[in-house]
Amino acid sequence: MLRRLCRIHDNLTAAGFAGAAASVAVITGSFWYEVAARYFFSAPTSWAYDVASYALCPMIFLSMPEMTRRGAHIAVSYLADGLPQPYRNSLAYVVLLAAALICLIGAWISGAETWRQYIREIETISAFPIPKWWVSVFIPYGMLSSSLYFWRQLAGEAPPTVAEESRS
């Protein structure tokens, strides 16, 4: 059962990561459209810049769980690398626990704010306004899913190796 849930989590993360790559394409496409509309047709859009800005949020927070799954987040690891194995393991455990807890708290904080935006029907302040939660909802998702990966790693699941990564 637990394994099945983990597989669902991994598939959701993979789909989210594809969404992050698609967000890069949306950002690129929006600016292409804006440049063409402004310089070739003298008709600048009111939405391109805003759409690109909105797309940045899912790009970051849909990638975040995948980066956590891979253990790819930037860290300064020279002290940990120099420690004897038992101490290194203990330190890694503490770091993972701290990361899992703070991401959970981050998910709760950002989730509460997104919920508030949804309840109060708050819109973005821009030339192309949309409900704010459409964008901000990716933040608690990224935090929560990352927290789950940290918990999974605490439970002994190692991040995939480069060889496993390239096979997948």
Partner: protein, 439 residues
């Protein structure tokens, strides 16, 4: 809470977490969530959530994934091989010509991508073995690759410059343009150093006859130059448009992606898989950088709320240090810290601390932050923990790390000399941005 307790406590906690190997974004999350809780209680959490949201939707930061995507497409387009072959032909019959090719190629790659680690890895896998095979000195070859790669965050387009400009609230377009002359000056300084060293110690390079035996070094120079033009056109599509005031940095970045795609099509490498790979790579690298930004920006807001920023300013005024000494200190501190700490993390901490001091001393924003960018770049090159050193080591695992360490130092000191020159002659940095358009 007094401001100095907040500031020193915050910085100490952050340094402790980073030293323990906590991922950067986690360290900033811990610091900022606890800071907000201590100052405002749970009522401040909305402020924190909105700080993450506003950073994650900052339009100017969309240039980051775009420039990374452009570099990724160019790396996959075959443009690098064409540039290398053309430069190999164009550099004259001089002893140590591969060192020259290496530095020039790095400078051009810097103008096309801007990720020092990627360039060090690329040259470490391609040019480095070729140089060693031709009989070039291993340590000196490693040094030129490290030096060349270190130019990339300075020569625009540079992701690091965009991040510094965004945090420091400086025009991104002007910040990018400001890096052009320092990048070119450092390139020239590296070239002069390399040629002098080879002249004094000819053993550093093989005989010219051996060196030019490779067929790639012969052929039409005009054709070689013509082959380079499409790549240089991509550079124009980015920096030319920004300098002429035609496009914003984000629009120019998107135009650069289009240019890179056209170049890939020209070299017959354009296909769906390549585009998909480039998009995934851009999402990977950009998200790793921007998640740190998102969780860290609150730190500068906390500095303002606690009064740390203004009080630090008052303290600095009280010290009455001459501007030159203050500038020296403000550059020396990150120079040392960058040897041990991550560039982005330190940048995110130091920029808000430095901002009031810069205003008090009346330093030109663009000039100071470009100097800071050069210092951050050196941080990637200085032993023991420079990232670029490790990128080269992973690309050439048979070369001992001590050799790579020794190789980097002469070029670190050259950059320091360049830094002193840019500090004494600010026009080297501010001249081009002044000429450019309002963006």
């Amino acid at each position: 809470m007094t401001w100095w307790v907040a500031l020193s406590g915050g910085v100490a906690l952050l340094l402790l977490l980073l030293t323990l190997g906590v991922p950067l974004f986690v360290a900033f999350l811990i610091l900022n969530v606890s800071g907000v809780f201590l100052l405002f209680g749970t009522a401040g959490f909305g402020l924190f959530a909105n700080s993450i949201y506003s950073t994650a939707t900052t339009g100017a930061l969309t240039a980051v994934p775009l420039f990374i995507a452009m570099g990724e497409i160019l790396f996959r387009s075959g443009a690098m091989e064409v540039l290398f072959d053309s430069l190999d032909r164009l550099v004259g019959k001089i002893r140590g010509r591969q060192y020259v090719v290496c530095i020039l190629l790095s400078a051009i790659l810097g103008a096309l991508s801007g990720a020092a680690m990627a360039v060090a890895g690329l040259l470490g896998r391609s040019l480095f073995p070729a140089m060693r095979k031709r009989g070039y000195d291993t340590q000196f070859s490693a040094g030129t690759i490290l030096a060349g790669a270190s130019l990339d965050p300075i020569i625009p387009p540079s992701v690091l410059a965009i991040l510094v400009a965004t945090i420091a609230d400086v025009s991104i377009g002007k910040m990018l343009i400001a890096g052009i002359i320092p990048g070119l000056v450092l390139t020239c300084m590296f070239l002069v150093y390399v040629l002098i060293r080879v002249h004094l110690n000819p053993k550093l390079a093989p005989d010219l006859a051996t060196d030019i035996a490779d067929r790639k070094t012969s052929g039409s120079a005009l054709l070689a130059l013509a082959k380079m033009l499409p790549s240089l056109l991509v550079f124009f599509m980015v920096m030319g448009l920004i300098m002429l005031g035609i496009a914003t940095p984000t629009e120019a970045a998107a135009t650069g992606v289009l240019g890179a795609l056209l170049l890939a099509a020209m070299y017959g490498r354009l296909n769906i898989q390549m585009i998909v790979d480039a998009l995934f790579a851009a999402a990977t690298v950009a998200s790793l950088l921007l998640i740190i930004m998102c969780t860290a920006v609150m730190f500068s807001q906390l500095l303002t709320v606690t009064g740390a920023a203004s009080s630090l300013g008052s303290l600095v005024v009280g010290l009455s240090l001459p501007a030159a000494i203050m500038l020296f200190l403000m550059i020396a501190v990150p120079f040392v810290l960058f040897m041990f700490l991550d560039q982005i993390a330190l940048m995110l901490v130091l920029v808000p601390i430095y901002q009031p001091i810069i205003k008090i001393y009346g330093f030109d924003d663009l000039w100071f932050w470009t100097l800071f960018l050069v210092v951050a770049t050196v941080g990637g090159l200085t032993p023991p923990f420079g990232y670029v050193l490790f990128a080269l080591k992973s690309a050439a695992p048979d070369v001992p790390l001590e050799v790579i360490y020794r190789a980097s130092w002469p070029f670190v000191w050259i950059i320091v000399a360049g830094l002193a020159m840019f500090a004494v002659f600010p026009d080297l940095i501010t001249f081009l941005p002044r000429l450019s358009g309002p963006r």
